[in-house]
C-alpha cells in the first residue's frame, strides 16, 4: 500500500509541529492543551473508524476508561513499570472489546448502539462500586518516570499522533475497504467468502486499542481519574468532533477536536452553560454545513476556483 499524497505529508508536518510545540511551550497549560486536543482527536477518530462499518460505538468512551483504569491500577496499586502499564492499556481495552464485539455485532439494527451505551454506563457504575480502585473518587497518583516527566506532553502527543496515523493507515488499506464494503452492502463480502462478523469485531478492536492507549496516556497526563470521566458523554462529544470536523475526511475528527476543545476552554467552568453551548454549536453546525468544517472548506475552495474561471 502506498500513501504518498501531499495531504499525508502535510499531516505528518502538522503532527511534528504539535509534538515540537508541546516540547518547547514555555507555558505548561499550552503543552497540556496539545495533549488534550490529540486525546479528543483519537477518541473522535476511533468513533469514526467504527462508523466505517456503519455502527455508532458509544463504548468508545468505555474503552477509553478501560485504558485509563488499566494503566492507573497497574501503576498505583501494583507499582508496575511505566512502559508495561502503558502497553497494557491498549491490550486490555482490545481484549475486552473483542469479547464485547463478539457478543454484540452478530445482529443488525440499532442494537449495537443501545448495547454499547448500556455497556459504557455499566462499566462506569462498576468502577464506583469497587473500593480498591477508589469507588466514586477514582485513583490518584499516576506519574510518569522522572526521565520523561518534564517532556511528558511531547511524549504523549507523539504516541497519540502515531495512533491517529495507524487508524488512517488501516482505513486506507485493503482491510479498510472491507470495512466500507460491510457498511455499503454486507451481503457482497459474505458472498465472496469473507467473515463479516469477524471483520466487524476486528474494526471495533482496532479502534478500542487506539482509545485504550489514549486512556493510558490520559491517566499519566491528568495524574487523577474518576468514573465520571468515562461516561457515555465522552462518546457524544467525540461524535460532535466528528460531525463538526467532517465525517467524510480522515482529518475531520482532528479538526473538530481542535476547534471544539479550544472553544470549550473559553466556556469551561460555567458548567451549566457548557453542555448547552456544545449542544447549540452541534445543532447549528450540522444544519449550516452538513459536511463539517472540512466539507465547508472544500465547498469554499470550489466556489473560489469556479469564480476564477
Amino acid at each position: 500500500m502506498q500513501i504518498r499524497s501531499p495531504g499525508v505529508w502535510a499531516c505528518v508536518a502538522l503532527a511534528v509541529a504539535a509534538v515540537l510545540f508541546a516540547l518547547l511551550a514555555t507555558n505548561p497549560y499550552h503543552a497540556s492543551l496539545v495533549v488534550w486536543i490529540l486525546t479528543n482527536a483519537v477518541l473522535a477518530a476511533a468513533l469514526r473508524f467504527v462508523l466505517q462499518i456503519g455502527e455508532l460505538n458509544i463504548a468508545t468512551a468505555a474503552f477509553f476508561g478501560v485504558g485509563a483504569y488499566t494503566t492507573s491500577i497497574c501503576a498505583v496499586l501494583l507499582g508496575w513499570p511505566f512502559w508495561l502499564t502503558l502497553l497494557l492499556a491498549p491490550l486490555v481495552a482490545a481484549l475486552l472489546s473483542a469479547l464485547f464485539g463478539w457478543v454484540t455485532l452478530r445482529t443488525k439494527g440499532p442494537y449495537f448502539l443501545l448495547v454499547s451505551f448500556a455497556f459504557t454506563e455499566v462499566v462506569r457504575l462498576i468502577y464506583t462500586q469497587i473500593n480498591v480502585i477508589g469507588g466514586n473518587s477514582g485513583l490518584v497518583g499516576m506519574f510518569p518516570p522522572m526521565a520523561i516527566d518534564a517532556h511528558y506532553p511531547a511524549f504523549a502527543a507523539a504516541l497519540l499522533a502515531a495512533a491517529l496515523f495507524a487508524l488512517y493507515g488501516v482505513e486506507r488499506s485493503d482491510l479498510g475497504r472491507l470495512f466500507k464494503a460491510i457498511r455499503n452492502n454486507d451481503a457482497i463480502p459474505r458472498s465472496v467468502g469473507l467473515n463479516v462478523v469477524f471483520l466487524k469485531v476486528l474494526c471495533v478492536v482496532i479502534a478500542a486499542a487506539a482509545v485504550g492507549l489514549a486512556g493510558g496516556l490520559h491517566a499519566y497526563a491528568n495524574n487523577v481519574i474518576a468514573p465520571s470521566d468515562f461516561s457515555y458523554f465522552v462518546a457524544i462529544l467525540a461524535l460532535a468532533y466528528v460531525k463538526i470536523g467532517g465525517e467524510g475526511h480522515p482529518m475531520g475528527p482532528v479538526v473538530g477536536a481542535a476547534v471544539l476543545t479550544l472553544v470549550g476552554q473559553r466556556v469551561a467552568g460555567i458548567s451549566a452553560w457548557e453542555n448547552i453551548f456544545y449542544g447549540a454549536v452541534i445543532v447549528v453546525a450540522l444544519l449550516a454545513f452538513p459536511g463539517g468544517l472540512i466539507g465547508l472548506a472544500g465547498r469554499v475552495r470550489g466556489l473560489v476556483r469556479g469564480g476564477a474561471r
Binding site: D174, R177, N184, N185, I188, P189, R190, S191, V192, G193
Partner: protein
C-alpha cells in the same frame, strides 16, 4: 479443471439438493425440491415470478437455512453451513437486487471479491485487472459502481464473484436490462468461463432466448416445486411448463 466435460449430461455431481424446503411463516417458498448440478455444465433454473428461484439461491449459498432437506456440495454435507463457508468451498453467487457495492469504485468492488483468496495487495490487484479485462470493465476501474451504466453494473456483479475464484458460479438474472449486443457478450463470457476456466454455472434467467442458447439443461420451478427437467428442447415442449410459465408470458 473440468474443461472437457461440457457434454449435455456433464461430469460428476458437484452439487446435490435433496428435498430442499423453505418456509417463510405460512408461505412455503420452496418445497420438496431436489436437483443435481454436474461439473462443467450450464444449468438453467427457470420459473415464473415468485416461483422460488432466488430463495433456492439463498439456500444453496448459505444465506438462509433450509426448513428441511439436505445440501451436498462437492461431496460434503453443507446443510445449514454459513455463506462464508460455502463461498470458501467454491460456490459463489450473485444477487438479483443490490448486487454490488454501489458507493465504492469498480476497483474496490472487485478487490473485495478477491480479498479472501488472494493474499497481499499486489496479488489482489493482479486479480482485479484479470477479471476486469474478462468482463469489459478495464476502462471503468475508477468509476463509482452506482454510476456505471446498467449493463456494466450487471457485469460488475459477475466480476466480484469471479474474483473469488469460484468452481460453481450461481447467477441470479444476470441479463436483466441488458441491451442486445450486451446479452451476446455475456453469453459468450459464460461459455468461456465454462470451457476455458472449468466453471460450472447455475443460471436463473427470464430471458428465454438466452436461456435456450446458453444452457445444457433446464430445471423448472413453479410455486416452489420442481415442475419439469430436461434439455431446453424437451422443456420448451413440456405441456405443464408451457401452461405454467411460457403460457403466462405470451
Amino acid at each position: 479443471m473440468n474443461g472437457e466435460a461440457s457434454t449435455v449430461t456433464g461430469g460428476e455431481v458437484i452439487l446435490r439438493a435433496e428435498r430442499l424446503e423453505r418456509r417463510f411463516g405460512g408461505l412455503t417458498a420452496v418445497s420438496d425440491f431436489s436437483f443435481e448440478l454436474r461439473a462443467g455444465e450450464i444449468l438453467g433454473l427457470i420459473g415464473p415470478n415468485g416461483a422460488g428461484k432466488s430463495t433456492t439461491f439463498n439456500l444453496i449459498s448459505g444465506f438462509i437455512r433450509p426448513s428441511g432437506g439436505r445440501l451436498v456440495v462437492m461431496g460434503r454435507d453443507v446443510t445449514g453451513a454459513s455463506a462464508t463457508t460455502i463461498s470458501r468451498m467454491g460456490l459463489v453467487r450473485t444477487f438479483q437486487h443490490d448486487s454490488l457495492l454501489s458507493e465504492m469504485s469498480v476497483v474496490d468492488n472487485i478487490l473485495v471479491g478477491a480479498s479472501h483468496r488472494q493474499r497481499g495487495h499486489e496479488k489482489r490487484m493482479e486479480k482485479v485487472r484479470e477479471v476486469a479485462a474478462m468482463t469489459g470493465l478495464a476502462d471503468h476501474l475508477d468509476t463509482i459502481a452506482g454510476n456505471l451504466p446498467h449493463g456494466l453494473q450487471r457485469m460488475l456483479s459477475i466480476a466480484i464473484a469471479l474474483a473469488a475464484e469460484p468452481r460453481i458460479l450461481c447467477l441470479d438474472e444476470p441479463l436483466t436490462g441488458l441491451q442486445g449486443a450486451e446479452v451476446g457478450a455475456a453469453l459468450d463470457l459464460f461459455e468461456r468461463l465454462r470451457t476455458a476456466h472449468g466453471l460450472t454455472i447455475l443460471l436463473v434467467e427470464h430471458n428465454m432466448r438466452a436461456v435456450m442458447r446458453a444452457c445444457d439443461r433446464l430445471i423448472v420451478l413453479n410455486y416452489g416445486r420442481l415442475l419439469a427437467e430436461g434439455s431446453p428442447e424437451e422443456v420448451s415442449r413440456n405441456e405443464a411448463v408451457i401452461e405454467a410459465y411460457l403460457g403466462r408470458k405470451r
